[in-house]
């Protein structure tokens, strides 16, 4: 694998993506990181693009070159993926991707076991688990990379959330889900909820951690206001590919202020 890896094949060009801002700096790149967005066509609600954009821009600010790829239903799965990000969707979106996701189980499992950093939010968090059992008792199988199960409920958990994470400090975001997720012994929670509900209405925990996979219910988007978490994903991807990560100096002053103001907002 070289920094000049293959250009994206026609199957996964950014047909549904926003564009990255044009790059004006001509500084030499420290290397290229390929970020794959999972199902952006069908699972892209609540600002999921924000997470991909933040990863790409922070890579630039750290001196690396991001290459944004997409994987949608029916595409060829791209090779040499360094970082994966996936989002939430309407119930209808989840139905559309379900079979395709199951067909990609072994590929995704291999990448996860191998330590590829991944961020999965809301709907894909649920489908990365063992199953989602709906209120009517129907069981939607997940790909089981995460030892979690989710049960649909009548109650919708909505509002601002603050999570205290041993790895990443205070994580701020916004939840909106009616599925309640229970963690098995094979995963750790992302953190303890200080405000809001998180995984389910009883555990006081939010999200799941397994190898370099981070799973969470939080939108917001999650990464912009949580640069420590974004940089964990970026650093891990770079270290895996190039052995070491040489940090740049992103200006996080707006992120700091946005966090301060967000933390004071009501639920």
């Amino acid at each position: 694998m070289t920094p000049q890896s293959q250009p994206a094949g026609s199957g996964h060009e950014l047909s549904f993506g926003h564009e990255l801002p044009p790059l004006d700096s001509a500084e030499a790149s420290k290397g290229t990181i390929r970020i794959l967005q999972l199902y952006p066509r069908d699972m892209n609600i609540y600002g999921d693009w924000g997470n991909a954009l933040v990863l790409a821009q922070r890579l630039r600010w750290h001196g690396y070159t991001p290459e944004l790829l997409e994987y949608n239903v029916g595409d060829d799965f791209p090779s040499d993926v360094d970082l994966i990000v996936g989002g939430g969707g309407q119930d209808s979106g989840q139905l559309v991707i379900q079979d395709d996701l199951l067909a990609r189980e072994s590929t995704l499992r291999e990448l996860a076991e191998d330590g590829t950093p991944m961020l999965v939010i809301c709907g894909l968090y649920q489908l990365f688990g063992k199953f989602f059992k709906t209120r009517t008792g129907a069981v939607i199988p997940g790909i089981g990379i995460l030892d979690v199960e989710t049960h649909g409920t009548e109650e919708r958990l909505i509002g601002n959330v603050s999570v205290s994470s041993p790895e990443f400090g205070t994580i701020l975001g916004y939840e909106n889900h009616s599925g309640q997720t229970t963690l098995g012994p094979g995963v750790a929670p992302l953190g303890a909820t200080a405000k809001g509900t998180g995984n389910n209405s009883t555990s006081g925990q939010e999200g799941a951690r397994y190898r370099n996979v981070v799973a969470s219910y939080l939108h917001g988007s999650l990464l912009p206001k949580n640069p420590a978490l974004a940089d964990f994903l970026v650093r891990t991807a770079v270290e895996r590919k190039y052995g070491s990560f040489i940090s740049g100096s992103p200006d996080d002053s707006y992120a700091v202020l946005a966090r301060e103001h967000a933390a004071r907002r009501p639920r």
Binding site: L14, S15, F16, G17, H18, E19, P21, P40, R41, N44, I45, Y46, G47, D48, W49, G50, L53, V54, Q57, Q90, D91, S92, R156, I158, G159, N160, Y174, N176, S178, H219, G220, S221, P224, K225, D251, Y254, A255, L257, A258, E260, H261, A262, R265, P266
Partner: protein, 427 residues
Amino acid sequence: MLYFSVPLGKLVRRVSRLRGGGSALPGLVVEKIDHGFMQRTLSTLPLGVAVVSGTNGKTTTTKMVVELLESQGLKVFTNRTGSNFTRGVAAALLGEVDWRGRLQADVAVLELDEAHAVHFVNRVPPRYSLLLNVLRDQLDRFGEIDKTAQLLQHIASKTTGTVVLNREDPRVARIADTLDGPEVLYFGLDDSLLSTFPNDDEMRAAPGSPVPPAPARPHADVVLRRVGPDDADFEYDGETVTTAMLLRGVYNIFNAAAALTLARAIPAPAAADNAGLLEALSRVAPAFGRGESLTVDGLPLELVLVKNPSGFRLGLKSFPAAGYATMIAINDNYADGRDMSWLWDVEFDTLREGGVDQLTGSRAYDMALRLQYDDVAIGAVNTEIAPALAGFISGAKDKPKRIFCTYTAMLAIRRELSKITTVEVVS
């Protein structure tokens, strides 16, 4: 009971007016003591009730329909105050009926919030309904877009006469498949304009990326063919007509096609007068905040209401930034929606060249962070709206100005602006 409810309600209305109170209390009173008041009063209208619902553009569209029908000589009852709840309608009725409870009108045109529309249509089945769109909005209240579509479907299913649907919004157009009672009419867009109106499913389509070919679509009664700087082309009855427009913004003008379709479906006493309809359409001014233009220091100051990604995208597209000073005001109060995720589904590249002069609102720093990631330069940030607005106005004295704002930020801005310029009072 029946005999006392109207006089009593009117009395409460007077008293609450005197005390400067809101419009809902008298409605609450009359509904409490006479539950059938609204239903009974509306059922006396010879042309029945028309409801306008959808996530975006209800207020301006309702205003258009009313003015179009009035141009046809109809007397129209409407809930002009923007209280789009059952109670608000009851309160508005109290203001219009005589002391014996009779409403002097031919037809009612009501703007209905999706959340309350279902309750309303169960009690008062409308003769006409106009369903505009299902855009991502207020998701933190309704949970899912698909659920909002179901609410609109319920309105359609209760409609006894004609349902007018947006042909270009798949979730709205699909409602037709579930209906067998009412007549269905569509309003639509020229193929060349389709890419200007991304629906939320296509939200991520990159600007300029190839749009998948549009599937065969049903005939639309009115089609918006072209939008010019101050005019537009509509096609109906096999003819394309050009009309001047005071309304700004493509989304408002698309809703004009919606309003035309509904107005054409409601029979006027004389045969429909298309020239009169167009004339009325050309004179419709935007409802407050929806692309409204005020004057400050002798130069225009435009207020553009933004409340969801599609609306913000269309706002940025409809009002080019060049030559304007720009301010963005983002609040996250209940009426705005608390979730800021939607800002990340809008791309701000059109603001990159000129930058944004001022950011404000309770989530000004969320907006700053969003712009930082799109490489848009930022002037000043102040979460307090009054000083931010003053700074924006004094800092751009020689330039026309534009403010993109969420709902409660817009109310605050209008309050401040009314101290220095003439702002239409909305009660």
